[in-house]
Amino acid sequence: MKVLVAVKRVVDYNVKVRAKADGTDVDLNNVKMAINPFCEIAVEEAVRLKEAGTATEVIAVSIGDKSCQEQIRTALALGADRGIQVETEGGVEPLVVAKLLKGVVDKEEPQLVILGKQSIDGDNNQTGQMLAALGNMGQGTFASEVVVDGDKVNVTREIDGGLQTVSLSLPAVVTTDLRLNEPRYASLPNIMKAKKKPLDVYTPEDLGVSVTTHLTQVKVEPPAERQAGIKVEDVDQLVDKLKNEAKVIS
């Protein structure tokens, strides 16, 4: 079984992102970039499927300019077998990403596509679902457990207040939540080996997809600042403030 994993290059989760002074975009100059944490979980899951003998090949795909090859190499160092970059200029919208991934799915015909549930930059939480719709595939979003069983995959999903398990016909799409696994660290030998693994580059034209714009970012700005608070002396004063000033407890 072939598994396709999508990875995205995003700002490292430890970086505090700021809007540029002119409000046109966020300031990404000299900011540390990394693989999106949810995508890392997706790679880990695919690699575990291969280690368990369920998957025969793991392909890591990323969409973006040449710099995203760095994240593909990270995925290769974590255990993916080969990489695909779909070359685009700058960021593209989730719908277009989904169409490009659909193009890759048509070429590679994986039985399972694993993606992060969302990227920590745009926070859209759309791509996996859109890909599933475009391919008329079943989807197991926000997965905390993935069990492949013959021509089906059972996915346990994080829902509000608990867990839900669905059974999907393969091929299917899975998006990862935090509890699915804890990604490994890439070892130095594996990082070296990853440099020699194959990495193909496609253009959107190769995949028959036109890059369209549906949403325009008009402005970015910092959120409303919180009013500076006060320090209370002791627990008594805290309880008093919560009761009588903030009125949030009775």
């Binding site: 919208e93 719908l95 829902i159 839900q164 935090l178 949403l215 949030v248």
Partner: protein
């Protein structure tokens, strides 16, 4: 202009998140209808009809929609939604599952998690976990939108008398089946829906000490959360994590205990109405966002707080 709001429900009751979504739809200024997709869900349709300002309620009552499987429900919504300018749903786990699928079927973008409506085509939404607010303009004729429920006060649940119509369309994509559900049985509210949240961080020292939060949580009817540091240290499971890569919460009262206030945690809770921080390090960044800060050893402060509530 017309807006179709997708009801959040469990086949027996209409969930409050629907009322937040209706509030956002009202700002859009269009005629509002509600779609209820489920099985044996007539009671939900009746509850939706009682929401003031709703024109009609469309009820698709069929076994194919019982568990609101995204593959089936998205086909229904795309069909029914063809007649509307906006398709709006609360950004619950359930609606986040199927709404992007609807958008892809209609070949339009989805505008996720909006917090403000500026005009018919322009919306605000938090990106980078709320560290930045983006204003986005949609070029699509039809808009598929999810609403961050904490950004809108719920409309009244009673007082309206919309008509109820049955929708006969049955869509079964045939690629997915429901296996089972394990809904956490807890006396405590769910983290993202709780009006009070008390969270522990690395300062709790171990998982056993989270018991200190339980007594307070019981008295306040609070949910219990944790920082990523506490989760990474193995104190508590990942589903308790509040933060950029965990759950985003905005309760009326958020109590951060032994949490330093890393960016990634602040991103998940800084929209709370009132924030209390208890930490023995008076320079901890958490105090910069706290309305009330108590510099104290949590092992002294927590038992005292519990006894005084």
């Amino acid at each position: 202009m017309s807006t179709l709001v997708i009801a959040e429900h469990d086949n027996s009751s209409l969930k409050g998140a629907t009322l937040n979504a209706v509030a956002a739809a009202q700002v859009m200024g269009a005629d509002i209808d509600i779609l209820v997709a489920g099985a044996n869900c007539a009671a939900v349709g009746d509850a939706a009809a009682a929401v003031p300002g709703v024109g009609k309620v469309l009820v698709a009552d069929n076994a194919a929609y019982e568990h609101q499987l995204a593959e089936n429900v998205s086909l229904l919504i795309a069909e029914v939604g063809a007649n509307y300018d906006n398709i709006v749903a609360p950004a619950t786990a359930n609606c986040k599952n199927f709404m992007p699928r609807v958008a892809a079927l209609l070949d339009v973008a989805q505008i996720s998690d909006i917090t403000a409506v500026q005009s018919a085509d322009t919306f605000q939404r938090p990106i980078y976990a709320g560290n930045v607010i983006a204003t986005v303009q949609s070029a699509d004729a039809k808009k598929v939108i999810t609403v961050r429920t904490t950004a809108y006060d719920a409309v009244a649940a009673e007082g309206g008398s919309a008509s109820v119509e049955a929708v006969d369309a049955v869509h079964d994509a045939g690629v997915s089946t429901f296996v089972g559900e394990e809904v956490a049985v807890s006396d405590r509210p769910e983290l993202t829906a709780a009006s009070v949240v008390i969270s522990g961080g690395r300062g709790m020292q171990n998982g056993e000490n989270f018991k200190l939060l339980e007594g307070i949580a019981d008295k306040l009817g609070a949910a219990i959360g944790a920082s990523r540091a506490a989760v990474d240290a193995g104190f508590v499971p990942n589903d308790m994590q509040v933060g950029q890569t965990g759950k985003i919460v905005a309760p009326d009262l958020y109590i951060a205990v032994g949490i330093s206030g890393a960016i990634q945690h602040l991103a998940g809770m800084k929209d709370s109405k009132v924030i209390v921080a208890i930490n023995k390090d008076e320079d901890a960044p958490i105090f910069q966002v706290a309305d009330y800060g108590l510099v104290a050893d949590l092992f002294d402060a927590l038992p005292e707080l519990e006894s005084k509530l």
